[in-house]
């Protein structure tokens, strides 16, 4: 249910826009998006970027799903490029804030709340999503079923605040994602950096867009977020489409 107070009530024009977009499955076309600045990535997303005011799920690929260390950095990089305060619903105390500052998310912008259980994270996220003016709400969750995802998606649509769910895998839990109302689902995994040298370069991620409403799935090797939260195409891979076989299989679904 949308929040009862009047500032959140949609205007007639907004309602028209919404009714026009019903059935396309892509939401309103005019909805603002945040481009990643990586050509192939933006082309795969409807509107040329990550839809704002929507719910996005981020899974951690690789064996360290419990820590979701790459996924939080990906989320931090997205929020770093938006304006306004951020509500971060913590799952445990292991998030190291200096790393978020390194991807451009200034500590003054982030309000943390210690919501240790999923049952606390979800209402706190929904509460945050009702407050216009937030850049985004991040929730670290172990699992999200369809109904909560619908509620979050509706709340995000209502206020225009972007919702990011970082999934933290519990031991013994199936990695196969559950159905959800999220606009996109990502899987971020660390990837070996430039194979030539023994020196540590900029980290690389394998970024997989597993599901995108109104867009095409795909996978890319990218250079991790820089100090402004921007991704980049690795110079050596700039012209190589990554993992095409997987893309086709997912697209065929």
């Amino acid at each position: 249910m949308p929040p009862p107070h009047s500032p959140d009530a949609p205007t007639l024009a907004e309602l028209r826009r919404l009714t026009d977009s019903v059935g396309t499955g892509a939401g309103p076309d005019a909805a603002p998006t945040l481009p990643f600045g990586v050509a192939g990535l933006d082309a795969a997303l409807p509107g040329g970027g990550l839809a704002l005011g929507a719910l996005h799920q981020i899974h951690e690929g690789g064996p360290r799903g419990r820590y979701a260390a790459t996924a939080v950095l990906f989320a931090g990089g997205i929020l770093a490029r938006l304006n306004g305060p951020v509500l971060w619903c913590l799952h445990s105390r292991d998030l190291f804030a200096p790393a978020l500052a390194r991807v451009g998310l200034h500590p003054d912008r982030v309000v943390y709340c210690e919501t240790w259980r999923d049952t606390e994270v979800l209402p706190a996220m929904e509460e945050g999503l009702r407050h216009r003016g937030l850049a985004g709400v991040v929730g670290e969750l172990t699992r999200m079923t369809l109904t909560p995802s619908r509620r979050l998606q509706l709340a995000a649509e209502g206020s225009g605040v972007t919702a990011l769910v970082v999934h933290r895998l519990c031991a013994g839990e199936a990695a196969e994602p559950e159905p959800s109302a999220a606009r996109t689902r990502w899987r971020v995994a660390p990837a070996p950096s430039d194979g030539m040298s023994r020196r540590m370069g900029r980290p690389r991620w394998r970024l997989e867009l597993q599901r995108s409403r109104g867009g095409a799935p795909g996978a890319w090797i990218v250079e991790a977020c820089d100090a402004q939260g921007r991704l980049a195409v690795p110079a050596s891979l700039a012209d190589r489409p990554a993992a095409p076989e997987r893309v086709q299989r997912r697209a065929a679904r």
Binding site: Y67, G84, A101, R102, D108, P190
Partner: protein, 471 residues
């Protein structure tokens, strides 16, 4: 020292006097004979009572319902308030630390019933009684711990019933016949069979509004309307005085006098009726209306000055963006739901030790404008405490070739380091010898880890994993 007829007796003694064997009720002449140079102060019962009341009002910082228990006790009903302090034990610790700092000697007990807590604080060791544990805790205490009159006490002692445990297993009818109703009544109150209402103290100057109902009410929707009415009536009162509420106490007086209280706090002074109503409504689920509620009292127990016209307040926020006010509302809701300790911002601390690099600041504190040094990569997840790993390096000070963490072997493809971090010997002596050599490593799969060795390799330094991910 007080006057008892013609005799001057000691009314109260402090800890030092107790060590000399003095006790309340002793004659002053006797005491002075025992302790030459004894400092006697005339007793001032009225001033003591006023002081106790002041202390009681101060204790309202912990919970809305605080009652004095003259001459020297306070009863606090912490139902629904403990989570704001992180639980019952931290709440007690906070009270005792603050009292100690002001030089007030106190013994604290926390139990299901006021009677049990009373007995435990005066005749036991104090502490926390787990729910349902009243009978067990009270059993070894003397019967005086039941708050009995001297006559009933003597009657019990005459037949050898000195411990409360001796009463609980006796047939009730026989107890009533032999010792009167008082003993059973006190016992039932201590064990929670008989309810015990507390007469809550009210700070005379706090803005407060009350609603009395012709018929007892109890339905959730009715209570929500009551909350909204009370807030609407409190706001003009706050406006008239130029105040904003930082803390609201809502007390529902039940038909059976077992008052139910809810409390909310706000991060900024507020007199926005809709906002305050919403915060209170969030806690309404905790209210048990029982057989009905006769009266509802809303009291702004902590207030701060707030500009005459809220518009000016608004204007200052509009400069920062229309959301600033909204953020305060969000923070308040989260504070009420989660407790004050669980909503915060993080700010940098100038410390080389990663676990000390972060401190908490209030969520609505002014922007600090400082960031951690950004030239050094840092892990996204910090393990606290670091986990031991086995690692192998070819030569001293070289990064390891592989490490084993939780039975998994990680071959290292790339590495950087060492970054040497020295202990902060000015913080604790234990850190004088602390040396850590940090290495950033990337495994063949591309995963990044943050390892350190807690001493030079020649000195058998051990390896630890401190962080995962890297930015």
């Amino acid at each position: 020292m007080a006057q008892d007829g013609a005799r001057r007796v000691l009314a109260g003694v402090d800890a030092a006097a107790r060590r000399f064997g003095l006790y309340p009720g002793m004659s002053a002449a006797h005491a002075q004979a025992l302790v030459p140079g004894l400092h006697l102060v005339p007793a001032a019962p009225e001033a003591d009572a006023a002081g106790l009341e002041r202390l009681g009002l101060w204790c309202q910082r912990y919970a809305p319902i605080v009652a004095t228990d003259p001459p020297d006790g306070l009863l606090i009903d912490i139902t629904g308030a403990a989570h704001l302090f992180g639980g019952e034990a931290p709440l007690l610790a906070d009270i005792s630390a603050r009292l100690e700092r002001t030089g007030i000697a106190a013994r604290l007990a926390l139990a299901d019933t006021p009677g049990c807590a009373w007995g435990l604080a005066r005749f036991g060791e104090g502490g926390i009684v787990p729910p349902g544990g009243a009978a067990q805790v009270l059993a070894p205490l003397p019967v005086a711990a039941l708050r009995l009159g001297s006559e009933a006490q003597r009657a019990l002692q005459d037949v050898g019933l000195t411990r409360i445990g001796g009463l609980t297993d006796k047939p009730r009818a026989a107890l009533r016949l032999r010792f009167g109703a008082e003993v059973l009544f006190r016992l039932d109150r201590a064990l929670g069979y008989e309810p015990e209402p507390l007469a809550a103290l009210v700070a005379p100057e706090s803005p407060r509004v009350a609603l009395r109902f012709a018929e007892p009410v109890g339905a959730r929707e009715t209570l929500e309307r009551v909350v909204s009415d009370l807030c609407a009536r409190l706001v003009p009162e706050l406006e008239r005085r130029g105040l904003g509420a930082r803390r609201l106490d809502l007390i529902f007086a039940r038909v059976d006098r077992l008052d139910q209280a809810i409390r909310i706090g706000t991060a900024r002074p507020s007199r926005d009726a809709a906002h305050l109503t919403r915060l209170l409504a969030e806690r309404l689920a905790l209210v048990d209306p029982g057989f009905g509620i006769e009266e509802a009292v809303l009291c702004a127990s902590r207030v701060e000055p707030l500009a005459e016209h809220q518009e000016t307040h608004l204007a200052s926020h509009l400069a920062a963006g229309p959301q600033a006010l909204d953020l305060a509302a969000l923070i308040d809701t989260l504070l009420v739901r989660l407790g004050a300790a669980r909503v915060y911002r993080l700010a940098p601390v100038e410390s080389d030790l990663p676990e000390r690099a972060v401190r908490r600041v209030p969520a609505l504190a002014a922007p600090l404008g400082v960031v951690w040094p950004t030239d050094l990569p840092r892990p996204a997840r910090l393990l606290a405490p670091p986990e031991p790993v086995t690692a192998m390096a070819e030569i001293p000070d070289a990064p390891p070739l592989f490490f084993v963490w939780r039975n998994t072997r990680h071959r290292i493809a790339r590495a950087d380091g060492p970054e040497r971090i020295l202990g902060e010997w000015w913080v604790t002596d234990a850190e004088a010898d602390l040396t850590r050599d940090y290495y950033r490593v990337e495994t063949e799969a591309g995963e990044r880890f943050w390892l350190f060795r807690d001493g030079p390799m020649q000195a058998n330094g051990r390896w630890w994993l401190h962080g995962l991910g890297e930015a």
